[in-house]
Symmetry: C2
């Protein structure tokens, strides 16, 4: 039984009220967009999710992708679903019109992707990685490469992958060894890449791999890595896929979750070497990767939201169906949703999920404004905000998705532990999201080092000032309880940030021993801020006698719950963030 | 590769320093026990764990138990391991000598069971449930039943199960429908029981089921449930297993974890009815179950410890082996354990696991003292402490085991998500522990309602006073940082408890909406208290120039870490515990 219903109301509320949508609509290129268009795009995407992608989700988990000789066979139903996805024009939503894209705001493509993620996370990784390949090519590729490869990647006729990791090079890409030897206008690649999501399949005519490798004379470390475009099928002169290139999947990983997404080990160059084309300049591959990383990390944060919404809806259906015990004051047995502790768990799932959505959608809109806002100062302001928000979105939404999916199992009780119930899949699928595209630890180092210390806290303090504004608005709206709680949270955020800035220079371990708790401290406050803005918007609508009174009151109650049940965690993260680094580094190796 | 090493030093430290061991040794019956004996028992149990139980753990997960017709086939190697377990005399450690038991303290059997849990959780459930059946019979069974069944259950020649749950009766046992019809000196049972761990297998000659069912004239609800002993093979006149009784496993569940433990659906009475014997008096079955529940819940808490220790050791091995990146100030690449954020995760795993051990072992010793302490006041004191600690141990150790196992995956990075690495098994296995033997929500209601409100907080305030004493000792030992942190934690615990006592009578939703956060608040403080006592003991030993200086200093550093990185959570749980119940109950059904 599928229980997934596209949360279109919640999505539109965030888009219309909290995501600078009016500002976006006034930008040339986006100015034909209006609320109705957005509504109908989301409605269509919702049908794609429920009618096409969700129906093959369980087979993706239970049967999964398989490897057969040199080919990966996608899970049952995935190939057909992908064709419908392509035929509907979904891959090209936000891509550049000059290569066949529809040129819509990233905000809208994030919203559509939420639906794709919720209905079938394993499936969603394929277009998500194609999108990253498109970006790499769009920004750094030569005109010839773009003309040759972009249109088919953007249409989804071909898919793309990112090939970074090697057995000895995970978080540390400096250790990459894959070799690229020049040969005329192209290169021959040899080496092994692992963890290549959708590294092979037959759902599309061709697969275009973006591969990090070293030129023969490249310097050691990260400054000697170049980026190559390596097609599965080398193109014929007419641009159609020709003979198979010299690389193949040698195995797919047996993972705890996302079984529908084949995670390949790719062996390049067993014979003459895999034919590849250099993207951009030599030795700048890692820098090019970083330009895509913001979006990829935001998209993984979005996976956290997608799973959370799905896990919440799944548990909610059970909680209102399963009759068990008498709630306090009740005279008869009741659905378990009537029990306060079950309701607490549902409220946690709901409020956390809604906070994720505000956080992600507003950041997606910031990416649009960073590129398209009319004046340069505005663009710079939004870019700084995006840079700051990337580790927050990636970490908070993926870390909290573990909790939301786990609560889903807990609400089901014993039934939740049985695979057929479906709650376990969300839990197992979610677990990868805090790891790939940079682990939580990597995000936390990025946050503390690049995003706070590097600009002496300017971007984060600007964010604090905006939160301060919201606190004033809460006070003016008679939401004093929320104002007080957010004041307390914001104070702890300011203290943690100041503590880092005061101490990092004197103690080399401070940044990295404090960064996780600092990031979680700030993220929790930012999450609460988003719901506060939502509650204020709901109150404004109520005052204006807008439709949906009970819906809007629900927004206010949900925010209130979050302020009492999640925001207080900021205080404990803050305390831990300000602990001396020798509590972390206190044991010598032999004392473990 | 197995990485499990029995943590004998840590276990003995807790037993000798923190678990009233000297008091236990002075009790008649336990007075032949000494430190050396304990040491050699644990050493032997350690060999059982590493040489017998651990080697079949992976097969238990990957192949698992299977059903074949009317019989469950245990996972490969489990049958042989069980024979060695029985031959070594391990099932009978703490059982009554009059029925062949060894009469050792529960404390010691808990320590041995920790090793069993760590090495093979699925396996451990079989003797754990047998132990529960033994207790039920020992306390409530007739002499005839005891003489007939106890010796073989205690020796492990037969195993036991608990058959409570039915499809419509999970947390709400009032809904039990299974019927028992009288027939001469016995009964005939008909009905379906689900979630019966080790409900069938061929590792032992017979399986003795403890089944909750209703007599024909029984009142509705919990006051109409009786307890029956139902053997798989009805005994011949000479006491040997005879013909198969009229019930059988009709399926085993496909679970996310503990695959080596067959979770059976049992169908009773397809023909003449399953032959069973009433235990104790009619309609008191649920009360009898409750007498066993304390121990069973503590044992599930112990599972949390077992998994945590294993997951920690597993991640530690990887963290000191995997070379990746340069840590701050380092000039060369280093094992990832050198990176502060990885070290933070290892410290979390280590300190949380050690806190679990103190919490559980001290409570196990309290169960011994509650039964055997020389005077009645002492016995009552220890029983009150046990009753209070049961939901704390069950909840905190199982909830935190999710985190410790999850950190295990995180430390492995991408590798951790691959099933072959082994980290996922601990994560999947752990997930059931917050559900069975009473979910966390059930524990929390028990804690708030029966353990705090019912005695107006007397037991919990007595605990607070003991924590207060420890704070004074910390101050006297110049551990002012720890004293301050524990003072802050204890204050929040007193506030939460007082808030509950002040408010529950006026608002029917308060108890159940606050109970989870209250329980987590108190548990976190109690966990810190245990490590504080450990740090004080380590400091005493250091002053006395005991052996193991670096080990003892490590205990102090580990406690310090916990005070900075885990204890602060008590504050946020405390804040949430004192939130108004209408934050939890704020949404109407249609607003979800």
């Amino acid at each position: 039984m599928s229980t997934y219903q596209p949360p279109l109301n919640d999505m539109q509320f965030v888009i219309e009220e909290l995501s600078s949508f009016d500002a976006l609509m006034s930008i040339p290129g986006f100015d034909e967009l209006d609320h109705e268009t957005v509504g109908s795009i989301l409605e269509e995407a919702g049908k794609l999710a429920t009618d096409v992608l969700e129906p093959c989700n369980a087979a993706g988990d239970q049967i999964g992708a398989q490897i057969d000789g040199d080919n990966v066979i996608a899970a049952p139903g995935f190939g057909e679903a992908y064709q419908e996805f392509v035929n509907g024009g979904w891959p090209s939503l936000a891509a550049a019109p000059e290569f066949g894209g529809q040129g819509l705001p990233a905000l809208l493509s994030f919203a559509v992707d939420e639906l794709v993620n919720s209905s079938n996370l394993s499936f969603s990784l394929c277009p998500m990685l194609t999108q990253a390949a498109v970006e790499a090519l769009e920004i750094h590729g030569s005109t010839a490469l773009k003309d040759t490869y972009l249109p088919n990647l953007i249409s989804g006729q071909w898919t793309g992958t990112m090939d970074l990791t090697e057995p000895q090079a995970g978080s540390d890409l400096a250790a990459i060894r894959c070799q690229a030897l020049p040969e005329g206008d192209h290169y021959r690649l040899k080496g092994t890449k692992i963890y290549i999501s959708w590294g092979d399949h037959s759902m599309a005519e061709n697969i275009i791999h973006m591969v990090l490798a070293r030129l023969p004379d490249a310097p050691d470390g990260v400054r000697g890595i170049s980026l190559f475009l390596v097609p599965k099928f080398v193109l014929n002169d007419d641009g159609t896929p020709g003979p198979r290139n010299d690389f193949k999947p040698v195995s797919i990983e047996h993972k705890m979750g996302i079984h529908g997404s084949p995670t390949c080990v790719l062996q390049f160059g067993a014979n003459e070497g895999a034919l590849g084309y250099l993207i951009g300049e030599p030795n700048k591959g890692l820098m090019y990767m970083f330009t895509m990383m913001n979006n990829a990390r935001l998209k993984v944060g979005l996976e956290g939201l997608g799973i959370s919404e799905r896990a919440y809806q799944h548990a909610r259906a059970w909680a209102f169906e399963r009759v068990q015990g008498r709630p306090p004051g009740g005279t008869d047995t009741s659905p378990i949703a009537g029990h306060p502790d079950v309701r607490r768990m549902l409220m946690l799932q709901k409020s956390i999920t809604e906070a994720m959505r505000v956080m992600i959608y507003t950041t997606a809109a910031d990416t649009d404004l960073a590129q398209r806002a009319p004046d340069e100062d505005q663009r710079a302001h939004h870019q700084a905000r995006v840079d700051l928000m990337v580790p927050i979105v990636k970490t908070w939404c993926t870390e909290l998705s573990q909790e939301v999916a786990s609560l889903g199992i807990q609400i089901y009780g014993g039934m939740g532990y049985i695979e057929e119930t479906g709650a376990t899949q969300f839990y197992r699928d979610a677990r990868i999201t805090t790891i790939y595209e940079g682990t939580t630890g990597i995000q936390a180092q990025d946050f503390a080092g690049r995003k706070i210390i590097r600009d002496s806290g300017r971007a984060v303090y600007a964010l604090c000032d905006e939160i301060e504004d919201t606190i004033l608005q809460l006070g003016a709206a008679d939401m004093n309880h929320e104002a007080d709680a957010l004041t307390q949270g914001l104070a702890s955020m300011r203290i943690s940030v100041a503590w880092l800035l005061d101490n990092y220079a004197d103690d080399q371990f401070v940044t990295n021993s404090a960064c996780y708790n600092l990031l979680m401290n700030c993220s929790t406050v930012v999450a609460a801020w988003g719901l506060a803005r939502g509650a204020l918007a709901a109150q404004r609508r109520l005052k204006n006698k807008a439709d949906g009174t009970r819906y809007l009151q629900g927004k206010i109650s949900t925010a209130r719950f979050f302020f009492d049940h999640v925001l207080p965690r900021a205080l404990s993260f803050g305390q831990s963030a300000c602990a001396a680094s020798d509590t972390v580094m206190g044991l010598a190796d032999d004392q473990f």
